[in-house]
Amino acid sequence: MASVVFYFQVHQPFRLRRYSVFDSGTNYFDEQSNARVCQKVASKCYLPTNAVIAELIRAHQGRFKVSYSITGMAIEQFRRYAPEVLVSFQELAATGCVEFIAETYHHSLAFLYHRDEFMDQVQMHRRLVEDVFGQRPRVFRNTELTYNNDVAKLAEEMGFDVILSEGADHVLGYRSPNFLYVPPNCRRLALLLKNYRLSDDIAFRFGNRGWSEWPLTAGKFARWVDQINGNGYVCNLFMDYETFGEHQWADTGIFDFLRALPGKVMGIGDNDFLTISEAAARYPASGELDVPHMISWADIERDISAWLGNSMQANALYELYALADDVRASEDPQLIEDWRKLQISDHFYYMCTKYFADGDVHKYFNPYESPYDSYINYMNILDSVRARLARAKSARAG
C-alpha cells in the first residue's frame, strides 16, 4: 500500500508600494497590485482548483484527502479582496477530508532571528486556523519548509505531532523520502519529507514540452506512485497551490490531470490518499534524521540562500529584527502589524541575486526591476518604521 499525501501551500505576500527615501507616509503596501494579483490568482487557481478538489472528494466518497497550509497573509487578503475564496476553503474544511496545518502567520523567517516572535506568530496562525476552519492544527511547517533539528524540537515543545520538510538529497543520502522519520531529541514528533522528484514533475515540469516524460498523464503518474510499494509507505506531494492554473496554466491540461489522478492512483492495488496527520498515525518512523543545518524547498541548493544569500538580504533581515524588542514593547498595534508584514519572506526573496541575470523563476515572481530596487525600497520603509518607533518611544517617555 502506498499512500499519497497531498499538501498544498497557499500564500500571497503583501507587496510593498514604491517608497522613496523622500516619502514619509505610513502606508507601505501596494493595495492596488495586491488586490489585482489576489483576484487574478483567485480566478485562475484558487476557485477552479477548489471546485475540482470538492468534486473529487464527492466523487470518491471521502477517500480522496488533501492538506493545506494557508498563511495569515493569504487569508487576510482573501477577506479583503476575494471573500468567495475563503468560503470555498471553508466548504472544503466541512467535508472532513481536508486537513489544515500551521505555520508562521506572516510567512516569516522569524525562527532564525527571534524565538518569541516566532512562537507568537505560530500561535496567531493556530488561532486563525481554528477560527476560520474549526480545526486545531496538529501539523507544523516552517516558512518555505525551512527546517533543522531546532525547528523540530521547538515544534514538538509547542505541541505539534508532525512536521514537514524537504527531502533534500544532501540530508537524506541513500535514504528515501517515502518513509517517515523522527528528528533527534524528539520523542513523538514525526517528520514527513517532500518527494521532490514526483512533486516537481507536477509543479515544475508538467507543461514543459521539452521534458522527456511530456505529456504527463494521470495513469503514468499513478504507476510511478505504485512503484513506491515495497520501498516506502508514503508519496509526499508537497507544492504551491498556485501550481494549478497559475504556474501551470489551464491549457497545459493540469486540471484534467488533477481530476483524473485520484481514480488512477486508487485503481492500482490498495493505494490511497491520506491527510498528513493520518499518514503520521498509520505509519511508523523508520529512523532518526539529523539535520543540523537549515534546509528548505527552494532552488537547487535547497538551503536558505534564496532569502539570506547576499549582504543586502542579511542586512535587511538584521535591521528588521534589530527593532523586534522595541516594536513588540511599543503597544502600538498598527506599528506591530506593519513590522510583522515586513517579515514576509517574499520581501527578501525579491532581493536575491542568484540567477538574476539569467531571468529565471526569481524574476518571474518579482515585482521589482532588480534585487537592488527591492532592497532600496525595503530599507526606505524600514527607516520610516524606525522613525515611528522613535516617536512612539519619546511620546511614552514624555
Binding site: N315, T353, S370, I376
Partner: protein, 444 residues
Amino acid sequence: MKVFMLGWEFPPYISGGLGTACYGLTRGLDEVGVKVLFVLPTALPQGAGQAGPAAVSVVSAGPKTKGGAEEKGQGVFEHMEMRVLPAVLQAYGQPADYAKAVEKLRRLQAKGQWKAAGISIPIGALAPGALAGGYRGDLMGQVRRYATLAAQLALEEKFDVIHAHDWMTYPAGLTVAALTGKPLAVHVHSTEFDRSGEHVHQQVYDIERAGMHGADCVICVSHLTRSIVLGRYGVPAEKVQVVYNAVDPPKGGDFDVTPIRRDEKIVLFLGRITMQKGPEYFLRAAKKVVEKYKKVRFVITGSGDLIGSAVELTAALSLGRYVTFTGFLRGDDVDRVFRMADLYVMPSVSEPFGIAPLEALSHNVPVIISKQSGVSEVLTHVLKVDFWDVDEMANKILAVLRHPPLQRVLREQGQIELRKLSWRDAAQRCKVIYEQLAGAASVA
C-alpha cells in the same frame, strides 16, 4: 584577414569613448589573429586645451608605426600597423560627389601622379559657425582631406575589408570602397540624434546616412542604436548588426589616492558636459541628495559646451560646497578619480552604449546608469533610472551612500558580470562579420 580601419581617435589622444572602443576592439582583433591597418588623423581631442599637448606634429602619410601607441605604454600589438594622416578631425562633426573625386583619383593613379594636397572633393561650402556641438573651423574640409589621404594610402596597401568608425571617417570609407571594391563596414558608436537631440546638423546626418546606406554592413554598439539606425536612417534591417562594447581590466599599479576630504563620499560624473550626457539631471539629483546627506561631494569630470551653464546651475542650486569640477582628465588621472569614487552616475539623455560605466565597474565602483543607454542592455547588476527622474536618481544615490551592503553586492556581482564582456568576444563577432563580407565580395 586584414582590415583597413578608419578611426579618428586612438589612445592616448582621446576625447571620449570612441578612442577607448577603437583601442579595445583593435587589441581584441589582434588577439583573434586579424591584421589591422589603423588609419588615424593627427587628431587633437576636443577640450584638449587643459590636459593634452597643444599641438601634435604632423606626420605625413606613410611612416609605419608598428604597434601604434606602444611607446605610450598602451601595450604592443602583434598584427597591427598604424598610419597617421595629416588631417585634423577635431570634434564630434559628406560626401556629395564621390564619383567625381574617385574618378579624379583613378585618373591620377593611372598617370602615376600623386599629389595629395592638391586633390579636393567637391562638397557644399560650409557656413562658418553653422555647426553645433563644437564643430570648429573647417571640419568638413578636414573630413574630405582625411578621405582623400586615406584613399591614397589604400591604393598602396593590401587588405580584405574596410571598417570605418563614426561619421567623420565614413566619407573616407566610401571613397576607399569605391576605389578598391573592398567591402565596407561602418561602425555606429553614436548618431547625430544622440549628440544633438532633434536639432540635427543636416550635413552630418547626410554623411551618416550615406555611409550607412553605402556600407555593406552597419555595426551598432547596442540595440538602442540599431533601432535609431533602422528608424531614423532607413537602413535595411538585414545588414545592421549589434556588437556590444567591452572593457579592459584596469591597469595594475598603486596610485597615491587621497580623497578630497576623507570624511566625504564621492559621487562621480565623468563624461562630456553636453546635453547628451545629462549633467543637469545629475546636479538636480545632487540637490535632493544633500537635503538628506551632507557628507558627500559630487565630482564632475569632463569638459564640453555646457560647462558654463553647469557651473551656473551649481551656483543657482547653492551646491557650491558640494560640487567639484575637475575639467577633462585622461590616463592615470581617470584611474585616480575612479578609485576615489564611491559611486559613478551616468545620467545620459541618450547614450548609444556608454563605456564609462564599465570602466567604473572595472575599478570596483558601483554604478547608476540611465535606462536610455545601450549599456543598460548588457548590465543587470547596476542601478537603473530614467534620466529625467531626478527624485529616483537621488533615492538611489542616497541608498548607495547610506547602505554599505548595497555597495558590496553591486561590486561583487558587477565584477562577475564584467567578466562576460571582453573585447576579444567583440572582436570575434567583428571577425565573423569580416569573413562574411569578404566571402560575399569574393563570390561577387
